[in-house]
């Protein structure tokens, strides 16, 4: 089938998730079951059909380029699990 163990871990990496060992078998079988079910769409002839990407009829809605209200730095940082007075903090990425 589509998703084997290796593919599962590859997708998980792309999605920035880990697959817990005890959940691996269950996740593999449910993913494959759902993907097989999704393949019903292969019955539909879509030759020459333009993909539908936008549901809203509104196109290129822009506002005036004027200074407006913004989230204050204090509020923007307030929910961060780790921050100083100016920045979000992450583990060191440069040696």
């Amino acid at each position: 089938m589509k998703v084997d163990k290796e593919t599962l871990h590859k997708i998980a990496h792309l999605a920035r998730l880990e697959v817990r060992p005890e959940e691996e078998a269950g996740m593999l079988s449910s993913l494959n079951e759902v993907l097989t079910w999704m393949e019903q769409l292969n019955e539909v002839d879509t030759t020459g059909v333009e993909p539908l990407m936008h549901i809203s009829e509104e196109l290129n809605v822009v506002r005036e380029d004027a200074v407006g209200e913004h989230l204050s730095r204090e509020r923007a940082l307030a929910n961060a699990p780790q921050h100083d007075e100016q920045f979000f903090q992450v583990p060191k990425v440069l040696e």
Binding site: R16, L17, M38, P81
Partner: protein, 476 residues
């Protein structure tokens, strides 16, 4: 004291002076406490609601003008931002998160003098059809506490069903307002895509998500829609079309052309009690002189796969913002950035959300993008064309809201696919962006609520509501 089942009744008593906002709020707070076992609310704003009620009562007593929704006590699904209040999307990953601003829809309701009584339980990130995937535990159906309320806006539907508030604001990506409304015997309205600004709504699948009201009557749902709908500088997908008076709209003065989904009344996959109730309603419409005809949707079997490919893909993108850095849960003791992302997300998201992110990431990955994602977008166009064609001949498309009444807690949790099939009749509206309303249609032998759904033409919510009033025989 009366349990109010319409805003018209609340307004009448407020005007007569036999009721105050404070009395209303106190009554709801008592009931929320009494029905705590249903787990409909994840947070109750008791003191704040009392203070607001007192302030509104003073305003009315002083003869100052009051808002359109003066005295309406509502709850908000746990996906709507309300400044300085927690919002969690039913997820552990938003542990400790407080909204920094108020979303447009909520702001407009507050400006018309609603009272927000609390935050309502839902499936994690609005992904689910039973309200069992919430980090706050399952919600129970007031008609039978061993059964689910539907999802994802389960707490919002039960709160109206059990009289814990007059109305709720939910969100509907594939039926999340209408399916729980059907399971709980109340009204759920999903407007046209883009009718209500989504600024301040936590995103699940952006080309599907709509905010929608849950209420006791179509009239109350329409009043809420009127206030929330319309252009907004903070949402570029919202429609600039003018908002009309949906609550007072009328039907055209001619027999209506009503299509009904043949599978909805014939298919063995639909519960017999629901087929019977739907047939009876259709007979009544025929007897009232309307044109009522069966239709088959060629694309009916393709609705759910299309919906799940596209929504999981959009979710995998939308939910990438939860990274343990800017807000929410952060894994402890991690010294590497990628590991921080991975561990924070794995610890914070529940199993169904992780499954959908993985499905969506797969559908969007380079090797499978065309086979899944592009294919689903093409089928989506075919489904929309088929629906447009149908609406050149008919005013409405009627079907049951759900194939079964409320199922038991735990009945479908082991099998995601079975759970997905609960949305078979509701997803079409989201796939094509049309408005739809779910209204009560009696109960089965066990007393479980049954719903009937009407799909209407885009931006014709007024007609849809007027028809729903006729269906439920409830003018106000």
């Amino acid at each position: 004291m009366t349990i109010y089942r319409s805003f018209t009744a609340v307004q009448a008593d407020l005007q007569r002076g036999t009721l105050t906002c404070r009395q209303l709020v106190d009554q709801y707070l008592d009931r929320i406490h009494e029905f705590g076992h249903l787990n409909a609310f994840t947070e109750v704003y008791a003191e704040e609601a009392r203070q607001r009620a007192d302030a509104l009562d003073r305003k009315a007593a002083a003869g100052e003008p009051t808002g359109k929704l003066f005295g309406m006590v509502i709850g908000l699904k746990d996906v709507l931002c309300y400044q300085d209040h927690a919002v969690r999307a039913g997820s552990a990953i938003l542990d400790g998160f407080t909204a920094q601003f108020t979303g447009t829809a909520v702001q407009r309701l507050l400006a018309e003098d609603v009272i927000v009584i609390g935050r309502q339980n839902c499936d994690e990130f609005a992904m689910g059809s039973s309200n069992e995937s919430s980090a706050f535990g399952p919600v129970r159906n007031a008609a039978d506490p061993e059964r689910v309320p539907g999802g994802s806006s389960g707490g919002s539907a039960v709160a109206v069903q059990a009289g814990l508030c007059l109305a709720s604001i939910g969100s509907d990506t594939g039926g999340s307002v209408r399916q729980p409304a059907a399971f709980c015997g109340v009204v759920g309205l999903k407007p046209t895509y883009g009718r209500i600004s989504r600024w301040g709504l936590i995103a699940y699948a952006s080309s599907f998500d709509c905010i929608g009201p849950i209420a006791n009557t179509p009239h109350d749902a329409a009043l809420l829609l009127e206030v929330m709908a319309g252009a907004d500088a903070y949402d570029s997908t919202v429609s600039a079309k003018p908002v009309s008076a949906y609550a007072s709209a009328t039907l055209p003065d001619r027999p209506l052309r009503i299509a009904y989904l043949k599978d909805g009344v014939d298919s063995e996959g639909v519960d017999e009690s629901i087929r019977k109730a739907t047939r009876q309603k259709l007979d009544a419409l025929r007897a009232a002189g309307h044109i009522v005809e069966p239709v088959e949707l060629k694309n009916l079997p393709h609705l759910l796969p299309t919906y799940y490919i596209l929504t999981t893909a959009e979710a995998s993108s939308n939910l990438s913002r939860f990274d343990g850095v800017r807000y929410g849960h952060r894994a402890q003791g991690v010294t590497d950035l990628i590991a921080l992302y991975k561990q924070s997300r794995t610890e914070g998201f529940g199993a169904e959300v992780r499954r959908r992110i993985l499905l969506g990431t797969f559908a969007l990955s380079a090797s499978y993008y065309d086979a899944y994602y592009t294919k689903a977008q093409q089928v989506r166009r075919l489904i929309r064309e088929e629906t447009e064609e149908l609406f050149t001949k008919y005013d409405f498309l009627v079907s049951p809201t759900t194939p079964s009444p409320a199922f038991r807690l735990g009945e479908k949790t082991a099998d995601p696919l079975q759970m997905y099939l609960a949305d078979i009749f509701t997803v079409q509206a989201n796939v094509v962006g049309y408005p739809a309303i779910a209204v009560p249609n009696g109960t089965d032998e066990a007393g479980l609520p049954i719903g009937i759904q009407v799909l209407g033409a885009p931006f014709e919510e007024g007609k849809l509501v007027a028809f729903a009033k006729e269906l439920t025989n409830s003018p106000a």
